[in-house]
């Protein structure tokens, strides 16, 4: 049986060296999935499943740098 997790967000390594983008990701997400971590950005595990698929993070970073993965996709 699947584990009751629905969303994973992958952040490319290149994002970490871009403080402006890090700030933008933290700002645009309506459900606080992004947070500062060790000088860069990390996802907040307990907020991942709140993702509304709004795409604002992807619009900010480009789909090669942030990926939103639906863990339930068939």
């Amino acid at each position: 049986m699947p584990d009751g997790l629905f969303i994973r967000v992958d952040i490319a390594e290149s994002v970490q060296g871009d403080p402006e983008l890090v700030q933008r990701l933290i700002e645009v997400c309506p459900v606080d999935i992004f947070d500062r971590a060790e000088g860069g950005v990390a996802t907040v595990a307990e907020n991942l499943d709140e993702c509304t698929l709004c795409d604002l993070c992807i619009q900010a970073a480009g789909d090669d740098r942030v990926r939103v993965v639906k863990l339930y996709a068939e």
Binding site: M1, P2, F6, E50, T52, Y72
Partner: protein
Amino acid sequence: MRFFEFEAKQLLARRGVPLPESRIARTAEEAADAQRELGGDVVLKSQVLSGGRMKAGGVRFAGSADEARGAAEAILALPINGQHPQGVLVERKGEIAQEYYAAVTWDGRAKRPVIVFSDMGGIDIEEVAEAHPDHLSRTHLSTLRPLSDYQAKLAVARTGVTGGDLNRLARIVLQLARAFREHDLTLAEINPIGKLADGSILALDAHMEMEAEARGAHRALLAELGIPEHDTRQARPPTPFEVAGAEVDAQDTRGVAGNVTEFSGSLGLVIGAGGGSLTLFDAVRSAGGDPANYCEVGGNPSVRKTAALTRLIVSKPGVEKIAVMMNVVSNTRVDIMARGVIKGVIEAGFDPADKIAIFRIPGSWEEEGFAILRRYGVEYVDRSVSMHEAARRAVAKLAGLDGG
């Protein structure tokens, strides 16, 4: 939020409305002391939020301390409509020559407050309204213009009262209307106002309700009256299950997932929103189902909140399966709801495919939601299956489980 009589009378007293001298007694001994202090004949009244005290035996009379002790013992031991008295109000009793009725409440049709006044007060006031309409006046108030003395005078004079009584009664009605406005009351009633043999006019009983939404604006007043913030003043105290439901709803401000009422059945309900919940609860019952709870989910609650509510319901002793059903949703998202209920069931240690009898939430983001449900093997239906039919299927599934 309903006030006890002694609290309502405190609100009147601070406005100078004349009242019989009284004491509040929490024990029979205190009631005996109160009689001694007041002297002579007293009336003892059960302090409950329910109406019908007189008929239930919650109002007694005494002429001595011993009688008062006995009457208070009987009253304190007597629940009325399931409510245990919070004390006994002991009041000096006078000879009543005439009874009047005064109330201020909202008239939903006129969309205004209305003063209702009658010179034929007492417990049969509803019958007066029908049988003697000329003895009952209705005076609507503007919410924009200031409340003025003449409006109270008009309310009283319309029943034919004149002379000194008109002025004395109008002063009481004016203060009642001021209390209604200033404390955000939805009902302010004095029944009866009594004219005693010596000509004095007193408020003998009082009934007030404050709008629940306005409670926050009147914290200081409620604190002065000694009413704790957690005192819900509901018909019965909430069960631990219902308290837990309220805590789930309070955990964040996104949407609603709460208003839980506990029942004893085996089918847990995760249903919404307001009208949808009423419809679905009826649908489950008309299909022969036995609900474990009522609840309301709506306004696109967070996944976390829906999961917590689901966990509470699916873990309730006696619940065999849950039905997740809503009307066609607009702002609530089907996929977010699907995530929440599946997460809640898994967190409670169960398999969603087994525990969720049916999922019927059509509307915004339904394709995404249905994909999640398929992945977890949960049976779902789309908008072509009605709320009643979905409820019937859930009940039938549970019946099949009981049979085999």
